[in-house]
């Protein structure tokens, strides 16, 4: 844009210079033309016999509104005396006209010129005191008067604009590619590397970007590996503890211990699934989404029969979507669990697809959370201030996992406080 404005300014400046130059040239040509005419008339008059002079003047073939006459006095009014610069120019022009020296005028008066549209010249005839007066039209210069000028100018402008645009595009394209690659890396750490081609600076930038992406990838892999290792190492002690608990004579103690161990196991499982790459784990298959949602609710009800009455689904009975089935189930399950933990109930509503995406909302009637927390709860291990969630055994990973999974599907999930109380988790999924 800046470049185009600059280009426009340059064109205007060029045009002005051209116009001024052309005006000068036109003026000069007019002056010379006028000088030639005046000198040749003077010559004709001088060469004629004295008594024929008036007749010669009358016979001049005058065009362009010029007038010529003989008089005793040089022309005076109404034109002002010509300014010195123009006088010099005119005198110079008269000197250039090739005539014998004796036929040159000795004395003359110049009037008009400059901005006036005509000039007047008075020349004293050699013998006697007669003056030859002439007025000549000097049309104002017309700088634009050229048939080719306009088209040539337009062609130049358009060519310059096109070339500028092309060059700018060429320079900017790699930057756009870089931006797209950074965006893709944010969504998928295994996005393909940038081609390291093009101008030197661009290739260097691409190489640096690829190196950075590689480091991030390694970092993510390390993290995944570490989490998986932790998960595996915890398996053995948890298994032992569960077996040991079976030997406790106190039934209540045993039940509580097993419940604790289940909780530990659930946390480890959620850490594992947070570290895991959704797409690498299972293929995309067609799944009946409403049944998936109902199954999630049924499983929740089976696990927590006290809440069975506070879970509901509404929406179409069948709708096929292509997703990572287990991952999607986990995402919905986490959202339902979250609603249950914070709000004490969960209403799942499916809005049929429109414009290529479907919306699934999970609502509860709880107190909601402060607006500032609505995004923060998607950060791993973040806990809302004064959270009562601790007692429900959340790992702090439920919502981050849900968002990871949905984003891996090209969708997303957002939380809002509903008007009139309660929370709403809105899931958007492309179909």
């Amino acid at each position: 844009m800046v470049l185009l404005i600059g280009l426009g300014l340059v064109q205007i400046a060029g045009l002005t210079i051209h116009a001024l130059d052309r005006m000068d040239v036109q003026r000069m040509a007019q002056t010379r033309d006028a000088a030639v005419r005046v000198i040749s008339m003077y010559r004709s008059v001088v060469l004629a016999p004295r008594e024929r002079q008036a007749a010669v003047v009358a016979e001049f073939d005058l065009r362009d509104g010029a007038t010529v006459w003989l008089s005793d006095l040089p022309i005076a009014e109404p034109l002002p005396v010509m300014d010195p610069a123009a006088q010099r120019q005119f005198r110079g022009a008269m000197l250039l006209v090739p005539v014998p020296v004796e036929q040159r005028p000795r004395e003359f008066v110049l009037r008009g010129g400059a901005d006036a549209e005509h000039i007047a010249v008075a020349l004293r005839l050699p013998e006697g005191s007669k003056w030859l007066n002439a007025t000549l039209e000097m049309p104002p210069p017309r700088p634009w008067h050229s048939q080719n000028f306009f088209s040539a100018f337009m062609m130049m402008t358009v060519t310059a604009a096109v070339l500028t645009l092309w060059a700018v595009r060429r320079l900017i394209a790699p930057v756009a590619t870089l931006a797209a690659a950074a965006e893709a890396l944010g969504r998928n750490v295994n996005a393909p590397p940038l081609p390291e081609t093009g101008p030197l600076e661009i290739a260097t930038a691409a190489r640096a970007f690829n190196t950075m992406a590689g480091r991030i990838r390694r970092f993510v892999l390390d993290r995944t590996f570490m989490l998986t290792a932790i998960g595996h190492d915890l398996r053995t002690p948890i298994t032992r503890l569960k077996l040991r608990a079976e030997f406790l004579e106190d039934d209540e103690l045993r039940a509580k211990m097993l419940a604790d161990l289940d909780e530990v196991e659930a946390m480890v499982a959620s850490i594992l699934s947070f570290g895991r790459d959704v797409a690498a784990d299972e293929p995309v298959t067609p799944v009946d989404l409403p049944e998936l949602a109902r199954t999630v609710l049924d499983e929740t009800a089976d696990a927590q029969p006290d809440f069975a009455e506070r879970l509901s689904y509404s929406g179409p009975d069948h709708l096929t979507v292509r997703v990572h089935s287990l991952a999607m189930k986990r995402a919905l399950s986490n959202l339902v669990q979250n609603a249950l933990a914070y709000g004490g109930n969960a209403c799942v509503r499916l809005v049929p697809p429109e414009a290529g995406q479907l919306i699934l909302v999970i609502e509860d009637d709880g107190p909601g959370i402060p607006a500032i927390e609505l995004e923060r709860v998607f950060q791993p291990f973040h806990r809302v201030e004064n959270s009562r969630n601790r007692e429900t055994g959340g790992s702090g990973l439920g919502l981050p996992i849900a968002r990871n999974i949905l984003r891996a599907h090209g969708g997303d999930v957002k939380l809002i406080n509903r008007e009139g109380g309660g929370m709403r988790a809105t899931v958007i999924l492309p179909v």
Partner: protein, 247 residues
């Protein structure tokens, strides 16, 4: 290495436990002995191969993650000449292990860390299946079961509708449906179904079965006035009325 043997008795099933953690092994042995099993416990597949000919085992509990030869390789070796039931212990959520394990002919899998009582329930269910008529066992470990246009993908634990779209099931619903389909056109008693759901449900089991069946009927589009696919047998239990194709 360590092997513990309960007092010999003709009716007590003999279990071979293969797990590399000594504590787990010993605890599991003690736990199972308490529940009237005879247990031999070994630490890896080398020892398992050694003790295999020495006892008549009714069931093997096999950890997939073993030092040296993996549990999968051992299972492959064993399947070469024996169809003794195998219950595999897999890592949490490692789908591939489970799928490969089931393809190799494991009868069931339990993710580790397991709930001892759930393991017990699975073992009993597997042993009961073994005790059934031979033809049911002979056709065991198919990869898919087809009935009335529906497909059960046993490796991935999925139900596919006639359009090959997955219809998600809860764990209990899946086990129930597999039991019904495997014994199609035969009545399943409440006792058998209870075993399947035990350890999964927190609520009262009796009601849970009815609830699971009604959900299954809904998911199978079988909830008209008169259910055609899963029929209720008065006083007895349920029967799946369909021809089943195994592949």
């Amino acid at each position: 290495m360590s092997s513990e043997t309960a007092p010999t008795s003709g009716v007590m099933p003999h279990i071979l436990v293969v797990d590399d953690d000594r504590e787990t092994r010993e605890l599991l042995a003690r736990f199972l002995e308490r529940h009237r099993f005879r247990v031999t416990a070994v630490r890896d597949s080398r020892e398992a191969r050694r003790v295999w000919p020495l006892g008549h085992f009714h069931l093997i509990i096999l950890d997939l993650m073993l030092p040296g030869e993996s549990g999968l390789e051992f299972a492959r070796w064993l399947r070469g000449f024996s169809d003794v039931p195998i219950v595999m212990l897999t890592a949490m959520g490692e789908q591939t292990d489970r799928i490969v394990g089931l393809e190799l002919g494991a009868d069931d899998y339990v993710p580790k860390p397991f709930n001892p009582r759930e393991l017990l329930a699975r073992m009993r269910a597997v042993l009961r299946r073994v005790g059934e008529p031979a033809e049911a066992r002979a056709e065991a470990s198919p990869r898919t079961l087809r009935f009335s246009g529906w497909t059960l993908d046993l490796a991935r634990r999925r139900l596919l509708n006639p359009d090959a779209v997955e219809v998600p099931l809860t764990g209990g619903e899946y086990d129930l449906l597999v039991a019904l389909v495997e014994r199609a056109n035969r009545v399943l008693t409440r006792d058998m179904l209870l075993d399947l759901l035990r350890g999964r449900q927190a609520g009262p089991f009796d009601r849970a079965i009815d609830v699971a069946v009604s959900r299954l009927r809904r998911k199978l589009d079988d909830n008209g006035r008169q259910s055609q696919l899963i029929k209720t047998v008065r006083g007895g239990g349920y029967v799946l009325a369909a021809d089943v194709e195994r592949a």
